[in-house]
Amino acid sequence: MTLRDCYDKLGGDYEEVLSRLRSERLIQKFVLKFPDDGSFETLVRAMGEKNQEEAFRAAHTIKGMCQNLSFTALGRSADELTEALRNGWSDEAPALLEKVSADYARVAGAIGELKASL
């Protein structure tokens, strides 16, 4: 599986990330690192505890990483959740978390496949 295939699978924009980071080696390094970041777990836990502040920060962090890596789909759902949590708890948040979780699972799955094929 190529890095490009991986991007297609996880709903990212490979062309875009390549134009910015300019190095396939670097992109691969960061993509492989992505699952190690604990922000998603933090997000799920904080949402469970209805800890709006922490959930906001975690969603925000995921959004930032996705922007940097051009993980378009997850970035978009993380952005929606971030905005929903920006000014306090929102009743839409749990539904948005579902979306984030689904997109995250897709990303994690694709990266797992990439790792296995290396």
């Binding site: 910015r20 980071l21 960061f30 922000s39 906001f56 962090t61 922007q67 940097n68």
Partner: protein
């Protein structure tokens, strides 16, 4: 500049991935330091702000966000020297505006573009490096100017004193006026490229305009009347002679023969003095002085001397000095003329009576006539010199007058190193607290000892700190700080610290820190905590020893009395009894069985006394074989005393020991120690008289009844 030393960049972002993307983009050229939240960032800044070339700062972070970090950077003045680029996915204009207000230099939005990041970083570092260099440059300039000025004035006041009747003030005036005129020109046009440095150089060099006069015959120089045309042509040579002397001052500017020739023809005094010009800095200075010496008698219309230059062929330095020279010569007294008033002198110059000048220059003079007149009045020259120095740096820095200089930074670095060294050596818990942000910084040793982070936020709500020190002690520290004043900022208190299941006493010494504002604001505190546990325990032990009878371990009379009085004070409604106990025939026991046995009797009695009463009751050896017990009772005191009495009569090694006891009740005689004691004493004697081996309660019929008859048995 820094040579091969890598510039340090601090990356602050809570996402490890974002930090590492940035670090990878910046590559090997920089030394990267990372912080994962605002608190860590502030910690790093407080240790090494002056070494950092740049901070890349995220906004949304736990503990302390990007704005908090910016706040701390402003509070501590770090923002002046360390540029900050905000890195964020935030793009709300409010956020951006606020960040710029707090002094950030630039923004980089996510997603990062490697080229953009690199370019922004390089540009920002360059810009700031330039500014830092500029600060250094201006400092050097000020230093140079100071050196030069004092040296020049030194030289010239000698020459002037020595050679002619002009006062040294002429030189000061010319210099002041030259500087003023040059600044006015610079404000009007940049045709002459007058930088602050150039202005400083020309006005300093102006002091040398008449240096050639050293070579002029004193008879001509100081002649009171009009000069003959021959004398005047000699006088005119001071321009070229001065120029030649200056040439001689710069090695390689002329051949050795030329140099020798000049040195032969002119006085050695002048040559010596010129040799003192610091040439390593002075080449520009000497060259400027050359222009001034040679051409300060040239005129705009080409009718001056020695070379007949016209218009802007005459260097601006010489143009300005010639006007300043003429103005001051007119308005000052000379051997051949009195001083001419300001207005008249100005008119004479405008009328061309002293030759033609650059019209633009004359305009500057006229427009600022009043300013010039006041500037030269009195001895304002020195002040102007000072103002001049200030303006150099101010102009160069465009209002960044308060910026920290390199020298100050070096000193700070040194102080910080010293502080860290002593802090590391002292094995003391040292701490610092700032109100904004509400943050504690601990010394490395303190952090290790207390198991707290070196830097943490909001100490009054830190559960860990509260569990260590206790909420009450923290509140007490805060209260004391609030009550302190800038004049009395220090406070000492003892605090019980709980660590690893152990409690130890610490002495906490704090000093509150106040701003320089009026009125001063409380901004934080410095402090240290010293472990005084051993010391305090020793002291307690000593106190205890001092209050106890060494043989029996019971309290001695003094401390028992203190405790009794205290007890009655605290419980004025309590029922108290004082039982005075005396061993019967103790003298005989001692005589027959020896002192060692006697001591054992005393010890055994003490032991039995303690066992017969509650811990809260007070047992005392008042002296010799006399003891007492002070107790509080609620029920039948007589039965209690019966029990005690039977307990404290005993047999030791076959010898029966009995006691007599006199008891007084507070309810009968009042809650005063003296009265109780006295009444118990009376009752004791009654018991003795009654045949010993018994106890007696005091009653009023006993009066003062006791005699010495039974005492000492």
């Amino acid at each position: 500049m820094a040579g091969k030393i890598k510039q340090k960049i601090l990356i602050v972002d809570d996402s490890e991935m974002n930090r590492s993307i940035l670090a990878d983009m910046l590559g090997e050229e920089y030394d990267i330091i990372e912080a994962e939240d605002g608190v860590q960032a502030v910690g790093i800044l407080s240790k090494q702000a002056s070494e950092l070339s740049l901070v890349l700062l995220d906004i949304v972070m736990p503990k302390l966000d990007g704005f908090g970090v910016l706040g701390a950077m402003n509070q501590n003045g770090w923002i002046i020297d360390v540029p900050v680029i905000m890195v964020s996915a935030e793009s709300g204009s409010k956020q951006v505006e606020r960040a710029y207000e707090l002094g950030v230099t630039d923004f980089i939005n996510r997603p990062f573009d490697a080229l953009v990041v690199r370019r922004r970083v390089v540009n920002t570092i360059l810009l700031y490096a330039k500014q830092k260099r500029l600060i250094g440059m201006v400092e050097d300039q000020i230093y140079e100017t100071e050196q030069r000025s004092s040296l020049m004035i030194d030289i010239l006041s000698h020459i002037v004193e020595f050679r002619n009747g002009e006062s040294g003030l002429h030189i000061l005036h010319v210099r002041t006026l030259t500087a003023m005129l040059l600044e006015l020109i610079a404000a009007r046009t940049d045709k002459y490229g007058l930088t602050p440095r150039e202005i400083s150089l020309i006005s300093t060099a102006s002091a040398l305009h008449d240096v050639g006069k050293i070579a002029i015959d004193g008879a001509i120089l100081n002649k009171p009347g009009r000069l003959t045309s021959e004398e005047f042509s000699v006088m005119k040579t001071h321009t070229t002679v001065g120029a030649e002397m200056l040439q001689a001052a710069v090695p390689g500017w002329m051949t050795d023969e030329e140099y020798d020739e000049i040195m032969k023809t002119h006085t050695t005094a002048g040559a010596d003095m010129l040799a003192r010009i610091p040439v390593q800095h002075g080449e520009d200075l000497v060259k400027t002085a050359y222009e001034i010496c040679r051409w300060h008698h040239e005129r705009w219309d080409g009718r001056g001397y020695p070379d007949g230059l016209r218009g802007d062929e005459i260097p601006i330095s010489a143009q300005v000095v010639s006007l300043a020279d003429v103005y001051d010569a007119l308005t000052s007294p000379r051997v051949y003329k009195p001083a001419i008033p300001h207005e008249e002198a100005l008119q004479m110059i405008l009328d061309g009576q002293c030759g033609q000048f650059n019209p633009m220059l004359l305009q500057c003079l006229v427009d600022n006539a009043e300013k010039i007149r006041t500037a030269l009045q009195g001895d304002a020259a020195e002040e102007i010199q000072q103002r001049n120095l200030r303006s150099i740096s101010e102009e160069a820095l465009r209002g960044e007058g308060g910026a920290v200089s390199e020298r100050t930074l070096r000193l700070l670095d040194y102080e910080r190193m010293k502080y860290h060294f002593f802090a590391a050596m002292s094995e003391e818990i040292q701490f610092e607290y700032t109100v904004t942000p509400s943050m504690v910084t601990l010394s490395a040793y303190g952090s290790k000892m207390l198991g707290l982070e070196e830097i943490f936020m909001d100490p009054l709500h830190s559960e860990k700190l509260i569990s260590i020190v206790g909420a009450r002690a923290l509140e007490e520290i805060v209260r004391r700080q609030r009550d302190s004043t800038p004049d009395e900022p220090d406070s000492t208190m003892e605090v019980l610290v709980h660590l690893d299941g152990e409690s130890r006493w610490f002495r906490v010494i704090t000093r509150s820190v106040w701003s320089k504002d009026l009125p001063p604001r409380y901004t934080g505190l410095l402090g240290k905590a010293i472990d005084i546990h051993e010391e305090k325990m020793r002291l307690r032990e000593l106190e205890k020893k001092a209050s106890c009878d060494p043989l029996t371990g019971l309290l001695n009379r003094t401390s028992a009395r203190e405790q009794i009085e205290n007890r009655m004070l605290v419980h004025p409604d309590g029922h108290f009894a004082l039982a005075e106990i005396d061993i019967d025939d103790f003298k005989r026991v001692n005589d027959e069985l020896g002192h060692i046995f006697g001591d054992r009797v005393l010890q055994e009695l003490a032991r039995r006394m303690k066992h017969s009463v509650r811990n809260s009751d007070i047992c005392c050896r008042a002296g010799g074989e006399e003891f007492f017990i002070f107790l509080e009772y609620n029920t039948d005191i007589e039965r209690t005393l019966e029990r005690i009495f039977s307990n404290i009569c005993f047999e030791l090694d076959g010898r029966q020991v009995t006691v007599s006891v006199g008891v007084a009740l507070g309810d009968d005689v009042g809650q005063r120690y003296e009265d109780l004691y006295h009444a118990a004493d009376v009752a004791l004697y009654a018991a003795k008289r009654g045949g010993k081996n018994r106890f007696c309660f005091y009653d009023e019929t006993m009066g003062d009844g006791g005699t010495d008859a039974t005492k000492g048995e």
